[in-house]
């Protein structure tokens, strides 16, 4: 993989091949984030295009204070959040912990046993039902292997909040999965 500085300087000098490489290097990251934020499949590709157009326009302002991938992810996150706002989808409020937990893990027809693949699909469906911030933190940490500091840079959330959301999201998912596994621990 080409060094960020070399790649950026080539793109800025008008090298289209370098920009193609930049897109190829980051398209999975952007697709993951957009897929987690946006449900509408048609909107997803359009938003990915907007992200890379913005990257192209603003690349001259990138100052190498972070990794290029973190900067690209920041743009994807901001555009994704703006898109949700335009569609009037509420994202700012994390529901009250008690009521949301009760609702999320409520016991609605949990099947007795699930194969691994089915379990993965089930958990991913559950991830989609989580608040936006939880979803994005989970994806950046577990799928894109970003550390807390990088997630803080991308989302603007303090590191403590990132850790807390990550913990709570996993905890909620675990409680729900436990119901499905039918192995509730009686203490």
């Amino acid at each position: 993989m080409m060094d960020d500085r070399v790649l950026v300087s080539q793109v800025l000098s008008g090298d289209r091949t370098a920009f193609r490489q930049l897109i190829k290097q980051h398209e999975r990251l952007v697709a993951h984030m957009v897929a987690r934020l946006i449900d509408d499949k048609e909107d997803r590709e359009e938003l990915c295009q907007d992200v890379f157009l913005r990257v192209y326009e603003k690349l001259g302002e990138f100052n190498f204070q972070s990794k290029l991938s973190t900067w690209v992810a920041t743009i994807a996150y901001r555009l994704g959040v703006n898109h949700l706002r335009k569609k009037k989808i509420k994202i700012s409020d994390i529901p009250e912990e008690g009521s949301f937990t009760a609702h999320f893990i409520s016991d609605e027809n949990p099947e007795e046993s699930l194969e691994d693949k089915e379990m993965n699909m089930l958990v991913l469906k559950l991830v989609d039902q989580l608040p936006t911030q939880y979803k994005i933190v989970l994806t950046l940490y577990h799928v894109d292997q970003m550390n807390y500091q990088e997630i803080e840079n991308v989302t603007g959330m303090p590191e403590g909040t990132v850790k807390n959301y990550l913990f709570r999201a996993r905890h909620l998912l675990k409680e729900k999965v436990k119901k499905y596994l039918g192995k509730e621990e009686w203490i």
Binding site: I23, E27, A31, H32, V34, E45, N120, V127, R170, E185
Partner: protein, 128 residues
């Protein structure tokens, strides 16, 4: 509860085993959340995007050139109208001496063009 759960999460992240119901459930969760979302961009996404940028830039260049042409035309028109209204007669006064040194004039012109060429060919690419 949070502390116990946090410890359990950390243990499983570190690859440790835990046979409790919570441990097994966490194992399933951690396995599933590392799966990439199923959305993929089309294979020609980058090409489509670059074409889009090129079209946008071409349009923008045409637009700029049109405004430049309009600007030059208006400037020329203004100069002509100004000259007519003020009765201005062109006088090359100080520049007439060039007529005695046509070779020097030609050399100066060629030298300036040569410097421009050098700048474009060697200096600018190294700066960018």
């Amino acid at each position: 509860m949070k502390t116990k759960d946090e410890e359990l999460q950390n243990k499983i992240v570190a690859g440790g085993a835990d046979d409790s119901a919570d441990g097994l459930a966490y194992k399933k969760v951690f396995h599933a959340i590392t799966v990439e979302p199923s959305f993929n961009l089309p294979f020609n996404f980058a090409d489509t995007l670059i074409r889009q940028i090129e079209n946008k830039e071409a349009k923008s260049t045409n637009y700029d050139m049109r405004w430049l042409a309009v600007g030059i035309f208006v400037l020329f028109l203004g100069a002509v109208i100004g000259a007519i209204l003020s009765g201005f007669k062109p006088n090359f006064g100080a520049f007439k001496f060039w007529a005695s040194y046509p070779g020097l004039f030609a050399f100066g012109l060629v030298f300036i063009l040569f410097l421009q060429w050098l700048d474009k060919k060697w200096v600018n690419p190294r700066l960018t």
